[in-house]
């Protein structure tokens, strides 16, 4: 196993091709939970773990069931099904096994079911033909990149609470502008690793 390739995958998925700042995916959660640092951190933890597990599950299903049966054209529906089932069952199990943890992170699980990054990651595996380890690395990188974006955005938005933003731009509009400007800064990473 080429360790460098894995490292490059993680770095590229988290920084260079950051899902929020270069592909503009997952914006609903991105703007939804970043009003406070606390929710952003909760979402980050939940998101990274869901990403890694759902990447693994969908790889297993794709390589072991869908390719042998030659039904890869169904991948969008199947991946949505896998992710939704996994997230919902995690939700139920967590409620039974660890109510404290459910109380803290359960809210975010429901939101993740409909997040576009969780669908984009398995679709990208399927397109690129990653191995299992590679797709786990890719899922981890994407999750970490999203977590980074959430934490940066939350810290900036908390600071902006005190700013005298002109009335039409208060709240969401100025957040979109901030996201655009961060994306501008992230173009500096382009060309860093060519995969």
């Amino acid at each position: 196993m080429d360790f460098n390739k894995l490292f490059e995958l993680v770095v590229s998925a988290s920084l260079i091709n950051n899902f929020v700042f270069t592909r503009f995916l997952g914006l609903c959660i991105f703007f939804g939970v970043t009003r406070k640092m606390e929710t952003a951190i909760g979402m980050s933890i939940t998101f990274v773990s869901v990403m890694v597990i759902s990447a693994t599950l969908s790889w297993l299903v794709f390589e072991n069931i869908m390719i042998p049966l030659d039904i890869t054209f169904l991948k969008i529906i199947v991946f949505i099904g896998i992710i939704a089932t996994f997230v919902q069952s995690a939700d139920t199990i967590m409620k039974k096994v660890s109510p404290t943890m459910y109380y803290k992170l359960g809210v975010y699980l429901a939101l993740i079911t409909t997040n576009c990054i969780t669908l984009a990651v398995p679709l990208i595996h399927a397109g690129e033909g990653y191995t299992l380890i590679e797709s786990i690395a890719f899922g981890l990188g994407s999750g970490l990149g999203f977590a980074l974006a959430l934490v940066i955005m939350a810290s900036i938005r908390e600071k902006l609470e005190l700013a005298e933003v002109p009335a039409p731009f208060k709240g969401l509009p100025i957040s979109f502008i901030v996201a655009g400007l961060i994306a501008l800064a992230f173009t500096g990473f382009s060309g860093l690793i060519t995969l």
Binding site: V151, I174, L184, G188
Partner: protein, 335 residues
Amino acid sequence: MVEKKEHELIVSVSPHIKGEESVSRIMWSVNLALLPAFLMSLYYFGPRALLVTLLCIGAAVASEYIIQKSLKKDVTVSDGSAFLTGLLLGMNLPPGVPFYIPIVGSVVAIVITKQLFGGLGYNIFNPALIGRAFLLISWPKAMTIWSESTAAFVGLDAKTTATPLGILKEEGLGKLIEMFGDKINLYTQLFVGNRAGSLGETSVIALLLGAAYLLYRGYITWHIPLSFLATVGVLAWIFGGKSGLFTGDPLIHLLSGGLMLGAFFMATDYVTCPTVRKGQIIFGIGCGAITILIRLKGGFPEGVMFAILLMNCFAPMIDRSVKTKQFGAIKETKK
């Protein structure tokens, strides 16, 4: 907020000392500190430099005036902050840009990066740098045509060439030394500023002169510039060499590109850097590390601008994490 406080009567117990510092005083001092570098740019790049810089300043001041009028705020163009943004943007442009570019850059810098966030003191990013990054992405060709520095008043037409960092990236150190004769001459020319590059970034000695004045007045502190420069130097020495670790040439990385201008005049912007000293050192180290990462591995030859912008994103987070604890405070426990 700050502007209003200047005129407010603050009642407190005696004895009273009236401070001389104010926003406009500091801003105009920084403008003054940039004067030597501006004069050097006139010497090397000629009337074109004057024109580009004046356009930037004019557009910045005009857009600040217009937007403050239309938002019915107090007009604060006389405090010199819009002037400074324009001047810094001008010093960051290549000499041969078409004339609409400085104007667009200034408008983006002032309107989007500064006034939409509520004006001076609230912007998250350095306005001049966002202006430049916007221009670089929008007109990548026009923003990367560099011309050779000539003693411009001789009246020769400027020849286009690559910047030293560009040559270093494409053809290596050997070519650079060949161009300038020998190593000592290379360092001297870089130090004086006789090289291709953005208008105001070339002359290290003029920038250091201005920085020394700001440090002497206490308007900037050593924390950010020193940690920034030291990180760049050390990392360039470790990773910069072609023949393995610890063979790089730190001096060439320190003297070229926009490093001096960035480290002393743009990373130290009060609004967009962390306010706690420990945070400022982290900020400087981060800027240095990203600069070297982009210079050595990235797609662009120069990384100072992106490094400062990226660390601007992290500044609120750094501030949060190094916040000093109140004496006697205990960590809040959650149920």
